[in-house]
Symmetry: C2
């Protein structure tokens, strides 16, 4: 074989490898515009010759959790945990018979918990997530994840992450991005599984939280979970938390509801870098759920959907854009 | 040259390289017990064959800033910034003539600001650090760092970091550690210079902070700095902030005052991993400052120093343990 022919073979080979590699990107996605937009964005910001190149340290991507990385139906999973905790602890708390939110939850009547910006839901989360050490709380969540199963999918909750989004997380990280959870769920709840399930380390988890109190006990230091100074990481709270915890603007943001609208704006509007805003639209009643304006519990998507065209936010149609929904 | 002789040469060469490398570790430190303790700790937790091995993801090191990575005399640098800001803004604020803390500060009378857990100092920080966007505040700090000079050392404040501590930061990072600032200074203040000066990215800076408020303006999203929900990242606030922001216990902690005592306890007591607690003791009145029980402003060191022996915390004697104080 002469050298020219060898060069030709190598060229063909490398092209084939390149095509295969491109096919391997986000394999659970169909060849939809959403997939193409994500890949085009990543290729632009990581290309040193592109005017849109972004240094590695500034490649910050933020992800909502409930409804974006795993379902939030029929209830956000942390609410399912809280209700299971209420049942478990009920015998020790006779005073709960006078608590209307707790009684609603135990009766499976969720509507009253949603009024007034989910006031009842946060109350449940607070009741079942305070008055113990952070270590004791984490142990309860860990136990629950082992035993509880989702009512529709009959699997442990942490086995219900969306495979296409797992691929996006891995794809971004392999391109130098730091991936953060920015979610209305509790930080202490999400940190129990975020590293194992998403590969997101605890210091990259921003969630709702209340004050903890340091105490030095004879067997060592502990932090007590309280209900004071509750911070709700939703709506405008999301860019506020991003500033407090991350301290710079993300360039990529993935959400699924109006609670993510402010975070999408903060990521994509007047950002000196190229940016990507993505909304996961729940359109698949068979394989998952279909909702936007009228969700069963959380996840209302109206204002962000209306703004999407003028903000150039990408809409992911779960039914058509995702070949598979759940990680196996 | 035969192969045996080549192998011998290579062995001698690699040994020499090894010795030189060891000599290069922390070159601004004398051969003091403190240096040896830091190196022994790092070698233990990074050695896969050691029972004390710690996986990379759990190698979290936390550093106080004022008095630990740079001086806090004659005033913490952020207070110097605040007083300069008061002077600059004075013409626009006639109402400040009735503010006793502001009048004290402008008169150079610092003592009244220190009473009641630094109440006056926090007031100054709030007055000069709220009521503007986070971007505007960062620009002010940036301007100040360019123009202001330290009264004793006649250099810009951000050129006064401790060279031996810069070496510790780099040494830990080269061994897989993530380095965090955990300081009473404001997050928004420290993030202006932390990446450039210490190599610590904004998302690894934990400081005092108050609520920011998200607002979508016609020219883009902003965050307004307020004085609400002030969180003081000092004393027990440090382990509390570490939990909220990092979500797991550090294995190495560097501080210099009683304000770091809780963070040292949280790092070193009943930690399942090996851990390191280090206190920088200001003993060098010529090259820097000498103080512990009676500092000029912040930096009191009594309780933590008393606890050091029983907690196995390492004391760094700045005068004897550091060959040089400042980075050049």
């Amino acid at each position: 074989m002469n050298l020219n022919r060898l060069a030709l073979y190598l060229c063909v080979l490398s092209t084939l490898v390149g095509i295969c590699w491109a096919d391997d990107l986000l394999p659970s996605w169909t060849d939809a515009p959403s997939k193409k937009a994500i890949i085009a964005f990543v290729e632009n910001v990581t290309n040193k010759d592109s005017s849109g190149f972004v240094p590695v340290a500034e490649r910050i991507a933020v992800f909502d959790n409930d409804g974006t990385l795993w379902p939030e139906n029929p209830l956000p999973f942390q609410i399912a945990f809280s209700i299971d905790e209420l049942r478990r602890q009920l015998p020790e708390h006779p005073e709960w018979k006078d608590d209307k939110f707790i009684q609603s939850a135990l009766a499976g009547d969720i509507a009253p918990l949603l009024a007034d910006h989910y006031k009842g839901l946060f109350h449940l989360v607070a009741v079942t997530g305070s008055g113990m050490t952070t270590t004791a709380f984490a142990a309860r969540v860990r136990d629950w994840l082992v035993t509880a199963k989702h009512p529709k999918f009959a699997k442990p909750y942490d086995q219900l992450t969306y495979q296409p989004m797992q691929e996006v997380l891995a794809y971004l990280r392999s391109n130098g991005f730091k991936t953060f959870l920015v979610s209305g769920g509790g930080s202490d709840f999400m940190r129990v599984f975020s590293e194992r399930v998403y590969g997101i380390v605890p210091e990259q988890v921003l969630g709702s939280h209340a004050a903890v109190v340091y105490e030095l006990r004879t067997d060592g230091p502990v932090l007590l979970k309280t209900m004071n100074s509750l911070f709700v990481d939703d709506g405008p709270g999301k860019p506020e938390a991003i500033h407090q915890f991350i301290g710079r603007r993300p360039i990529a943001c993935f959400g699924n509801s109006d609670g993510d609208k402010a975070m999408l704006e903060y990521t994509t509007m007047a950002n000196p870098h190229p940016s990507l805003g993505v909304i996961v639209h729940h359109t698949d009643s068979e394989r998952e759920y279909a909702y936007d304006a009228h969700p069963k519990s959380s996840g209302k998507l109206v204002a962000a959907l209306a703004d999407a065209p003028k903000r150039n936010w990408i809409i992911v149609d779960m039914k058509t854009d995702w070949r598979t929904i759940f990680a196996d």
